[in-house]
Amino acid sequence: MFLRLKSLLPGFAFVVLTGLVAYLVVVPIVLLIWGGFKPDGLVTSSGFTLSNYIDLYSMKRTYALMLNTVIFAAGSTLVSTFFATLLAWFIERTEIPCKRWVRTAVIAPMAVPPMLIAMSWVLLGSPKIGFFNLLLKNIFGLKTAPLNIYSFPGMIFIQGITLVPGAFLLLSFAFRNMDPVFEDASAASGRGVFTTLHRIVLPILRPALLAVSILTFMVSMAVFDIPGIIGLPAKIKVLSLQIYLAVMDPEGIADFGTVSALSSVFFVAILLLSYLYYRQTRTASKFATITGREFKPKMMDLGRWRYGALAFVGLYVLFATGFPLAILFWTSLMPYYASFSLERLHVASLNNYRTILDYPRVLMALENTFIVALVTAAAVVFLATLVSWVIVRSKFRARKLLDVLSVLPMSLPHIMLGLGLIYVYLTVKIGIYGTIWIIVIAYVTSYITYGTRMLNSTMYQIHGELEEVAQVSGASTIRVLRTIIVPLMAPSMFGLWIWVLIGSIRELSAALVLQSYKSLVLSTVLWSIWEHGELPKAATLGVIAVVFLFSVMAVGQMLSRRFELFTGKR
């Protein structure tokens, strides 16, 4: 009897896990889709209509919008994947110096809310006031500005590099988990460094590269800050901007019907991309690089390419991290938003840093933020580990359903996620409405996709033989997870934890919708300051967030040396 029950345990656990993910994901998705069939877009309204979809998809400009969005998202994906791949390879597989600092510098911009990054780039690349343009005009005596961020290429470039940190995190762990035997074999047969990268390394990392590409594509479709701050003045409209315009409908309530109808595009896109991902990765063993054989990642000697690599990494860090953060810091020292100028140095001060802690309830916001971020990060890592293991390793037929469920949140604009949760927890009165716990649920739902894509990629790299051997020796499922899978995945889990922690600190849309008097978090404080026009104070919070991230990374580096999380030693 006991043995029979024990044999049913994995199936029961699978049902519970799938049920939990389904609850987190399906409810807001259904509310979103069903809302599209309501006259005002809210599921609580009476009536049924197809007009939201018909009106939207019968307009020519909807298709022009979709084309713009695809171009923008594809371009941003190319930019971010290109830089992230090369940076991850240089840092994890080659002998470039100062890796720890470079790694931290690449990730640092992740701590800054995207709207602040966008405003920093205005001060760098605006034709009228941008630092780069003013400098180049002065040096070369130009009459017109050579750079213009208010263009499709400008938008694509800036969006692309803002996505590099997340893509880099995912790819760096994938590179770290690669047994160098493949590169050694390539070198032994006389192939050069870049041929090895192109013909051997990248194909093996296909799951990770696909995951990165899909994630950055979907994020580029959904995020609003760059399209809002740079695209709107440039008259370049994409889907996320159109959703924003629908939300600020002059009738007093957002046009949720149009928001739902527009969001269906994301829904279809994520399903198509997930199918593509599944087709490309279904033979998991092809991508296994972690086997029973111990290995230590070997650092490649770049030879004559060393200085080129250093220049590439150095220039990237300077332009993607150095300048934007420097301008952010400059803005935080100013009394009002202003471009860099030596003439303004005399008004620079630390006043904003002195007064920011006087902001009402900022300490409560800090406390709430840390609780939300820590709990969300832990929950996402826990859930994503289990989900990835089931998707990649288990034989349950319904694991594809779990896979699909775990990517669906990418199709949800965060404002709709927030509203969906308000509706649910106003109906199911379990006392979390108006508390930080409803915010935690929103964040866990929205980050589960990134978590599972990241950990799936790592899971594909772990050969199944390791678990098989343990199971043949009599180890239980839980023991296999605890003693084999988790230690091998620890670096990726740690990277995910950091990403979700930082993302939770800066996440805004859902928090704005769900906030209450007692559940104020840092991002809503920042929004309040921003909307009020106090950009320098908002920049101050951005700088503080970066310092916090540097501290977390420094602690992480210390822990990694202690527990070999980053060395990849097996």
């Binding site: 005002d40 809210l42 609580t44 405003m119 205005v122 001060l123 605006s126 009228k128 006031i129 809002g228 701050i229 709107l232 003045p233 008259k235 409209k237 315009l245 939300v247 600020m248 409908d249 002059p250 009738e251 007093g252 309530i253 957002a254 009394p335 009002y336 938003y337 202003a338 471009s339 008004v347 902001y359 009402p360 309830r361 509203l419 308000i422 509706y423 106003l426 109906t427 009165k429 409405y433 704005l512 919708v513 906030q515 209450s516 008097y517 809503t524 404080v525 309040s528 300051i529 921003w530 909307e531 009020h532 026009g533 106090e534 950009l535 320098p536």
Partner: protein
């Protein structure tokens, strides 16, 4: 005969005085009841766009008069206020006691009868603050033509609407993506004239931006030279020494900001007391001092005095549906 006229005049004056006294007394008596009930409630939950530090100052001044009320304020934008109150009311959950929002934003709540109808006059509210029974005007949104003083001299600066059509401002005018200022202008000009103006303005290639603090910030930085902005949004930049000056145009677009009382409020009397105070000359004065958002319908308010003589262009509350319809027609002109 002359003595008869004198008697009649005396009778009329004393009757009017008595009536005024009785009305004031009645209002005072009604208000007293509200105050007593508010004392028992002791708390007000407010939703509105003013920030926590602004709320601290405004509500602190209120507490000088009514120290028995504690506040919980949640800062959110106007449409978020509507969404939140709508969802809470539909689910039967009490949330805000006072929801401060633009009058047009409150219409969905009015349609579903989620707001209390109040006889504000009987409470002694200023007649000019009363346009409807479901809310009382506590402030107004007004628009200015602003310019960067380092880029534009006082002499060259735009002083009125048609000045912005001058080709010298091509590519240098910042406007909000929201059509609100133009929707409010319809009341004075009519929709055909506003549509024509907007189309001509768009030929001058204005730079369309998100509103809030972004427009004034980019104006101060010099990315644009002139802008149509909400006057209140200039405050942080100007107080920090930003190089901005402005004029109120004529006609002056005005939108009422109303304090509304959701029916499910847990502290209805405390909420009513706070809303009433906000609409009073004292409340309006503090609100304007702290937020720069004044109330042109309060004659003693600084903004009313600064804009005296301008034609206020605003929609009566019972015509706000027509305003929303006009707004929808303007949006594709601003963002085709």
């Amino acid at each position: 005969m002359r003595s008869g006229n004198r008697v009649l005049a005396a009778f009329l004056v004393s009757t009017m005085t008595l009536c005024s006294y009785m009305v004031a007394n009645a209002a005072s008596s009604t208000l007293d009841k509200v105050i007593e009930a508010a004392k028992k409630e002791g708390k007000v939950v407010t939703y509105g766009s003013y920030t926590p530090d602004e709320a601290k100052e405004i509500q602190g001044t209120f507490n000088n008069r009514y120290p028995f009320i504690k506040f919980e304020h949640v800062t959110m934008g106007a449409s978020d206020v509507t969404n939140r109150v709508l969802l809470e009311s539909r689910s039967g959950t009490a949330g805000a006691d006072v929801a401060v929002t633009g009058a047009p934003m409150a219409i969905p709540l009015v349609r579903e009868q989620f707001l209390r109808q109040v006889d504000w006059a009987s409470l002694g509210a200023l007649p000019s603050a009363i346009d409807t029974s479901w809310g009382v005007t506590v402030a107004t949104v007004t628009y200015v033509l602003a310019w960067n003083t380092k880029l534009v001299s006082q002499a060259d600066a735009p002083k009125n609407w048609n000045d912005l059509l001058n080709p010298k401002w091509k590519g240098s005018v910042g406007i909000w993506v929201n059509p609100n200022p133009f929707s409010d202008l319809v009341s004075a000009w009519g929709e055909a004239k506003v549509t024509d103006y907007l189309k001509r303005l768009m030929q001058n290639a204005p730079v369309v931006m998100r509103g809030g603090g972004e427009l004034p910030a980019r104006l101060a930085a010099g990315e644009i030279s002139v802008a149509i902005v909400i006057d209140q949004t200039l405050r942080p930049v100007v107080e920090s020494g930003g190089p901005i000056q402005w004029v109120w145009p004529d006609p002056l677009p005005v939108e009422r900001v109303v304090a509304t009382l959701p029916k499910l409020a847990r502290n209805p009397n405390a909420g009513m007391l706070y809303a009433l105070w906000l609409s009073s000359p004292e409340g309006a004065s503090v609100y304007e001092k702290v937020t720069w958002r004044g109330n042109v319908f309060v004659p003693s308010a600084p903004i009313a005095q600064k804009t005296r003589g301008k034609k206020y262009s605003f929609w009566p509350t019972d015509k706000l549906d027509a305003r929303a319809a006009a707004s929808k027609r303007f949006i594709p002109i601003i963002t085709p």
